[in-house]
């Protein structure tokens, strides 16, 4: 019995990522997380568990946080994907949520952080003035093993402040 790439179904997909349209030939079973990381070299999206629990691979699909390890790249066709690089890719000029993490010491190893950034970026549009309890709830679908969460919760509130300041300018 042989298992061959020749017999493995592939498709040509059109994927809009961070505002750029890509046309890719990918195996139908290839995960969105792997296509982002390997085909598009957007390695900011991290894979922590591949079973949808840890949230490290979270990206935005049409502005909503989704687990890119639970989704085939083909399923994202026709949708707008935003990765952490799409939130802000300039270390000299981080986006508001990214700056909030700097201000609050909201990361240590940084591996889970992109998943938090994409989650929080979407959340503070929904709730511009989160209480501490709401901020905690907002990030309670993402695992972090380093920080103990306290500073991440602060970063949610700080990000909301920064966004409000940005909007008022």
């Amino acid at each position: 019995m042989t298992e061959s790439l020749d017999t493995e179904p592939t498709s040509t997909i059109r994927l809009t990522v961070n505002g750029t349209l890509h046309v890719l030939e990918v195996p139908d079973r290839k995960l969105l997380s792997d296509v982002l990381r390997q085909d598009l070299e957007l390695t900011g999206t991290h894979v922590g568990c591949e079973h949808g629990v840890c949230g490290a691979c979270t990206v935005q699909l049409d502005g909503e946080p989704v687990r890119s390890c639970l989704m085939f790249a083909g399923s994202a066709q026709g949708h707008e994907v935003t990765t952490v690089e799409g939130i802000g890719d300039d270390p000299e000029h981080p986006a508001d949520v990214q700056q909030a993490f700097i201000d609050c010491h909201g990361l240590q190893c940084g591996f889970c952080t992109p998943g938090f950034i994409t989650t929080i970026d979407a959340y503070i549009d929904e709730n511009p003035h989160p209480s501490e309890e709401e901020a905690r709830e907002a990030v309670s679908g993402n695992l972090c093993r380093c920080t103990g969460y306290q500073n991440i919760v602060s970063a949610v509130q700080r990000a909301a402040e920064l966004r409000a300041e940005g909007a008022s300018q």
Binding site: M1, T43, G44, F101, L107, C109
Partner: protein, 795 residues
């Protein structure tokens, strides 16, 4: 005068890169490399009769399939016993790929290399292995019974056995007015970093060299072991540790089987091969920690002062012992904690079982020690009807240094070099409101709520030797490049070491750039573990910067015609003290230190104005000098420092559901002077979260066949933000006399006493003795039922 950066809450310099997707973790390094996947044993204990790889070879895209017999030379021999110790009576380690026998579920047997991981996994699924099953040994009790044996040729399962004694335990216990015995159990958990392990190995057939990127805690250690196992000159192997997504101890063991197998494949195939561990692999084949069965016998007087403490414990070290006995050894040497105990005896047995090996996890062995000692303190207080804090106060060490009379993991005698436990306890009591708790309890009770308070004290030997180094060079641009051999996995090395160097050199922080874990520049290092980073590399870099500074002043002194003693460096300018008019930039000193003839940049051109007239009787580089404003220095301490602290928890337990909620969590912590309090706080927060996980959620659920039943994040419960309390902290800074900066380590402080402080609080809330952790609501609910039945029975 430049503001001193040591002690400042500087925000982290690594953050902007990591936050914008520019982190480079090991799987990011070589996305296009061919990939390895492993066939792992589904059985805990079996002989391998036959391996049929033919199905895998047919898969299109498969490049190589290796079993043990394909491993070359030394790589086919057993993996090393990294830290031998006289107490080890039966050293057993595994192979990179199993040879004839497997000893735990998850042990690697076959490596498949293919164009990508998807194909490698397809092929791995087609490999057939025939086994002859043996009876597995699972858990301390089965191992201790010795009716089944893990390793052939042994008559029992004892890997190591050690006794240490201070004072005369027989007279200590014999003369005590009160004696108590406790049987205790501590959980098996795991580090579980968000990034698993990983390795990318690149073979350069042109010059016969191997370059390895690995998610490791010791790039120098991995380099040495790969050179030995691949039988290569050390100079032909380099290991680079890029960004690491958390480690907590599990990445200190080396080589992991996969690191060795993948490196061998890269050489054989003359290409770049990568392996990135997935989460299931991490659960079943990366190291766990913690599981111990403990017995304590304590004698004490009417005031609660301990007169003698006799301890035995049985440690489950899993199937192999590649990292030696650091975990049980640390347990045995930390039991006495911050207390002056006149007679102490500890005996441990480290036991083989058919489960994943046990190597250090944050707080390595110490969390277990605290559990024994602090559960004992609470038991003494209960026996005498005394306040639990008061009993601890009466037993505290009060004079420093306090020799412990025990041989520690670094081979030196343990010694509590500094501290002030009385003040720490005062601070903690005031922070948590210890003395006011009874009125809070009454108020809660009137609302139908059940609350409890607990505390736990600890010491931690930190900053173990033997040495750590630094390398600093100042470029002609004024940029200061700093290397430490240590790897970094979230400890903010790029920030805290820059603070230390910038202070000593008198340069702005943003000119200092720190590189970690790259053997190409600094091949001498030990590794990042055991809360040693700031103590060891911090002091090494402090000394290195001093050396660079001295050289800079010497060179500048010649140009400025001033005695180096009269010079200082302020904001990157070398100047005569109190006279900024006579000055030159450090950048220019760098040019002068390297008498090249080429004016290759602005600094080099400008520096010519400072150049002395050449002396015809002297060479450009004098004997004993080296070109460049560049130095290396090492720091090697006499012994470990000892940090300390006290934690307190307030919990509420639901009278009906037995749900456990942590209402408050307070930490008083003494790690000596803090280089960056922001970073220390972060380490404490994260450590507490891991401790809370260990207290309430995390447990490796093996069945009697050695199958891990909860090998996913859906079943092994790690705390989310919703489970972790807000942590309140206070600090005491008693400097260590053992190093120039007075630093004691902080990395594991949050984790070590957490499970025990929470056990103490639950016991206080429930009035039921807590003798094992972790404790989940279901277990507590059953304990209540048993307790009620016992109470009814005794009436």
């Amino acid at each position: 005068m430049t503001t001193r950066l040591f002690g400042q809450k500087i925000t982290r310099r690594e953050d902007p890169r990591l936050l914008t997707g520019h982190g480079r973790y090991v799987d990011d390094v070589s996305g296009s490399a061919i990939a390895a996947a492993f066939v792992r044993s589904p059985h805990a204990h079996a002989d391998i009769i036959d391996i049929d790889v033919s199905g895998a070879l047919d898969v299109d895209g498969v490049i190589a399939v290796w079993t043990h017999e394909d491993l070359p030379g030394e790589a086919a021999q057993r993996l090393p016993m990294l830290i031998p110790h006289p107490s080890i009576v039966a050293p057993h380690t595994g192979y990179a790929l199993a040879k004839d026998h497997v000893n735990f579920v998850g042990e690697p047997i076959v490596m498949v290399v293919a164009e990508n991981r998807y194909i490698a996994e397809d092929a791995a699924n087609r490999i057939e292995v025939d086994y002859r099953f043996c009876d597995p040994v699972v858990g301390v009790e089965a191992s201790r019974a010795g009716t089944r044996i893990v390793h052939e040729g042994m008559t029992d399962n004892v890997a190591a056995h050690l006794v240490q004694e201070v004072g005369d335990i027989d007279s200590g216990l014999g003369g005590a007015p009160h004696v108590l015995e406790l049987d205790l159990e501590f959980e098996r958990s795991a580090c579980m970093p968000m990034e698993g392990k990983g390795v990318v190995a690149r073979w350069d057939s042109g010059d016969g060299s191997l370059e390895v990127h690995s998610s490791t805690q010791t790039s120098t250690g991995l380099r040495a072991v790969l050179a030995a196992k691949l039988e290569l000159p050390l100079t032909k192997v380099e290991v680079i540790t890029p960004d690491v997504g958390g480690a907590f101890g599990v990445k200190i063991n080396h080589p992991w089987p996969e690191e060795l197998a993948v490196a061998c494949a890269a050489r054989a195939l003359e290409t770049t091969v990568k392996w990135t561990e997935d989460r299931r692999e991490h659960f079943i084949s990366s190291a766990h920690e913690r599981a111990q069965t403990q017995w304590v016998r304590v004698g004490f007087d009417d005031e609660g002062r301990i007169l003698g403490l006799d301890v035995k414990f049985w440690h489950d070290n899993g199937a192999y012992l590649p990292y030696g006995v650091i975990v049980p050894l640390n347990t045995s040497t930390h039991i006495m904690g911050p207390y002056a105990i006149p007679a102490f005896r500890v005996e441990y047995w480290s036991l083989y079982t058919n489960t994943v090996m046990v190597t250090p996890y944050r707080g390595a062995g110490r969390a277990h020690a605290v559990f024994m000692m602090e559960r004992t303190m609470d038991a003494i207080a209960a026996e005498l009807g005394l306040d639990r804090a008061e009993v601890r106060l009466r037993n505290f060490v009060r004079e420093f240094p306090h020799p412990m009379g025990l041989r520690m993991q670094d081979g030196a005698e343990g010694c509590i070099d500094s501290g002030d436990f009385v003040t720490s306890l005062d601070k903690l009591k005031s922070l948590v409101g210890w003395d006011e708790f009874e009125s809070y309890r009454e108020q809660a009770r009137s609302e139908g709520r059940q609350v409890g308070i607990g505390l736990a004290c600890y010491i931690e030997s930190t900053g173990a030797g033997p040495y750590e180094g630094g390398h600093i060079e100042i470029e002609s641009s004024g940029r200061v490049n700093v290397w430490t051999g240590l790897t970094s996995h979230g400890q903010a090395h790029a920030t805290v070491f820059a603070q230390i160097v910038a202070d000593e050199l008198g340069v702005p922080l943003d000119t200092v750039h720190v590189t970690t874990g790259d053997t190409r520049k600094l091949p001498y290092s030990v590794g990042t573990w055991g809360s040693r980073g700031a103590v060891m590399a911090g002091n090494a870099l402090h000394l290195t910067a001093k050396k660079v500074r001295e050289k800079a002043l010497r060179i500048a002194g010649e140009s400025l015609e001033a005695d180096p003693e009269d010079l200082e460096i302020v904001e990157g300018m070398v100047q005569v003290k109190g006279d900024a008019s006579a000055s030159m930039p450090l950048a220019a000193v760098s040019v002068l230190s390297n008498p090249l003839r080429y004016a290759f940049d602005e600094s080099a051109r400008a520096a010519t104005q400072f150049a002395k007239e050449s002396d015809e009787d002297e060479p450009s580089i004098r004997p004993g000098e080296q070109p460049g404003l560049e130095e290396q220095e090492f720091f090697s301490p006499l012994r470990s420092t000892v940090a300390n602290g006290i934690h307190a928890a307030i919990v509420e337990t639901d009278p009906e559901t037995a749900d456990i909620r942590i209402l408050r969590y307070c930490v008083v912590h003494d790690c000596g002077p803090m280089v960056n309090p922001l970073v220390v706080e972060g380490q404490v927060h994260g450590g507490v979260a891991q401790g809370v996980g260990g207290a309430l959620y995390e447990k490796m659920a093996y069945d009697t066949d050695g199958q891990l039943l909860n090998a996913s994040f859906m079943d092994f419960l790690m705390p989310f933000a919703s489970e972790i309390p807000h942590v309140e902290t206070d600090h005491l800074e008693t400097p260590s006399p053992l190093n120039p900066l007075g630093i004691k380590g902080a990395g594991e402080a949050g984790t070590i006493p957490a499970a025990t402080a929470i056990a103490s609080a639950i016991e206080d809330a429930e009035g039921i003795a807590i003798r094992s952790m972790p404790l989940d609501p279901s277990t507590l609910w059953h304990m209540r039922a048993d307790h009620a039945a016992d109470a009814a029975h005794s009436r």
